[in-house]
């Protein structure tokens, strides 16, 4: 019994230690930003690498997400004679939840793992030590541009997701339940407001920050050797997703309260 509580306590301490590490990393990033330490060329390169190169996979994923939501919703709506709510339903689901969430999942898997693998292999080959020895902060040089890149690119990707889901949904609504495009988009205009989109994009900014911090932290803390980098990379994706999913609940409860 004592052992159970010991291991429980150790797990709690490890989790708090990790969260504390993330908070300190964020603090350092904000400190460098406040001191004008952002290197735009590096940030722009990261925006292209992490953001622009993720667009296709984000579009593909969210188009099908919008299609499946529409497929399920359209049949039920037609059954109950409320086919004029399908567009609004898909729009709300995409803008409030699925757009930012699925974007975060794709970015954590594609960009987050790339960040951890790159920084982790730099650590293993002493390149991070070399940066420090040359009086260049690895946080300023590696972490800040990546955080800024994901903070800027995540809402843009989420907006693409919203639109892709809506377009996919409208085609499926028409093809599978015979709901005309004009009825679908009229429903979108009636039920969704700009706030639904902007608040969803705000969520994407938060997820982008979280994914960038977790991925960089995992890279900087990665163990020795190829196995260490592999474990750090897997951990980066898993931890990012857990944090994003948990945060999503609280953000949704706060940003979209039930009146």
């Amino acid at each position: 019994m004592i052992r159970f509580f010991e291991s429980l306590g150790q797990s709690v301490i490890a989790i708090l230690d990790y969260i504390g590490g993330l908070a300190l990393l964020l603090w350092d990033v904000l400190g460098f930003l406040a001191a004008g330490g952002l290197r735009w060329p590096l940030a722009i390169y990261q925006m292209a690498f992490l953001g622009v190169n993720s667009i296709m996979i984000v579009l593909l994923t969210t188009t099908f997400a919008g299609m499946v939501i529409s497929l399920q919703l359209a049949h039920v709506a037609v059954q109950y004679g409320v086919s004029n709510i399908v567009g609004g339903g898909v729009a709300l689901a995409m803008a409030r939840e699925l757009g930012p969430m699925l974007t975060a999942v794709v970015v954590a898997g594609r960009a987050g793992s790339a960040i951890t693998a790159e920084i982790g292999s730099m650590k293993v080959t002493e390149q991070i030590d070399a940066l420090e020895c040359m009086a260049v902060s690895p946080i300023k040089y590696l972490v800040v541009p990546r955080v800024i890149a994901l903070v800027c690119m995540m809402p843009i990707l989420a907006l693409f997701s919203d639109m892709a889901g809506l377009v996919g949904g409208s085609f499926v609504a028409e093809a599978s339940a015979g709901i005309p495009q004009e009825v679908f988009y009229d429903s979108v205009r009636r039920m969704a407001v700009l706030d639904d989109v902007t608040r969803g994009l705000f969520k994407a900014v938060i997820y982008g920050t979280q994914i960038a911090l977790v991925s960089c932290q995992q890279g900087l803390q990665s163990g020795r050797g190829a196995a260490g980098v592999g474990q750090a990379t897997t951990g980066s994706v898993v931890i990012s997703m857990i944090i994003v999913f948990m945060t999503n609940y609280f953000l949704s409860a706060w940003l979209f309260p039930i009146n």
């Binding site: 002493e126 070399a130 020895c133 040359m134 009086a135 902060s137």
Partner: protein
């Protein structure tokens, strides 16, 4: 002799319950080369890492140019690091940059030199290490020995006062090892820098050292100039020199 460039006093480093360095003290006179010898895992690289602030000592003091690294704030440490160069065991070249950009990195970060001056210095340093015209290649496109030489060029690009070499010849064939050792000697002559070389390459140590210290189990078991190293009857040195498995050094 002038004041020492490096003074290490009672340096102790422990990792958990394991003691890596135990009250190690030595001095390196300005403009000379100290070689730290010892088996793998006796704390040689840890000593170097402490000297450049990558590892915080458990206790003790490290003075470089009369400034104590152990108590420095990050900004002061960065100022000092601009005057200290470190060549890493695995070269540690930035693999996303060309060899030329690697050598230019410190100059671009810490000086306001125009790009043409930076390119001139890069060409100069690459010529010293016999890598003229290789500036456009990436580290993955050159051999291990060339990577080491490129990392030396990067280390000395900013003309540091102190140069630290971590296992400069490990994993290299004997001929390239000699080339690297001659290069350390040449860099030392050209720059007049104070150098510390961590190695277990005896021939290299005899070639480049003004003084040698031998570490074993976190302590200095012998120190002196290379001539004495070759003649001493100290059982640790004798065993190390002869490469014998019998003696006070237990693996």
């Amino acid at each position: 002799m002038s004041d020492p460039a490096i003074v290490v006093k009672n340096l102790t480093v422990t990792f958990g319950s394991r003691s890596v360095l135990n009250n190690v003290s030595f001095e390196v006179p300005r403009g000379t080369t100290l070689v730290i010898l010892g088996l793998s895992g006796v704390g040689k690289s840890t000593t170097l890492r402490c000297m450049v602030g990558l590892q915080k000592p458990t206790s003790g003091e490290i003075y470089i140019n009369n400034k104590n690294i152990a108590t420095m704030k990050p900004k002061e440490l960065d100022q000092l690091r601009k005057r200290v160069g470190m060549a890493f065991q695995k070269a540690a070249l930035f693999d996303s940059m060309t060899v030329g950009d690697n050598v230019a990195f410190g100059l671009r970060e810490h000086t306001r030199l125009p790009e043409e001056d930076i390119q001139r210095i890069v060409a100069e340093k690459l010529a010293i290490v016999d890598l003229e015209g290789m500036d456009h290649l990436y580290p993955s496109q050159i051999s291990g020995g060339m990577q080491k030489r490129a990392s030396f060029a990067r280390t000395v690009a900013t003309d540091p006062d102190v140069v630290l070499y971590d296992e400069p010849t490990s994993g290299l064939d004997p001929i390239i090892s000699t080339v690297i050792n001659e290069l350390i000697l040449e860099l030392q002559h050209r720059l007049g820098a104070t150098s510390v070389v961590v190695t277990h390459d005896l021939a290299g140590a005899m070639l480049v050292a003004h003084n040698i210290i031998m570490l074993h189990e976190g302590k200095i078991v012998w120190s002196g100039p290379p001539k004495e190293f070759a003649a001493t009857d100290n059982p640790y040195i004798k065993q190390f020199r002869e490469g014998s498995s019998k003696g006070p050094i237990r693996v």
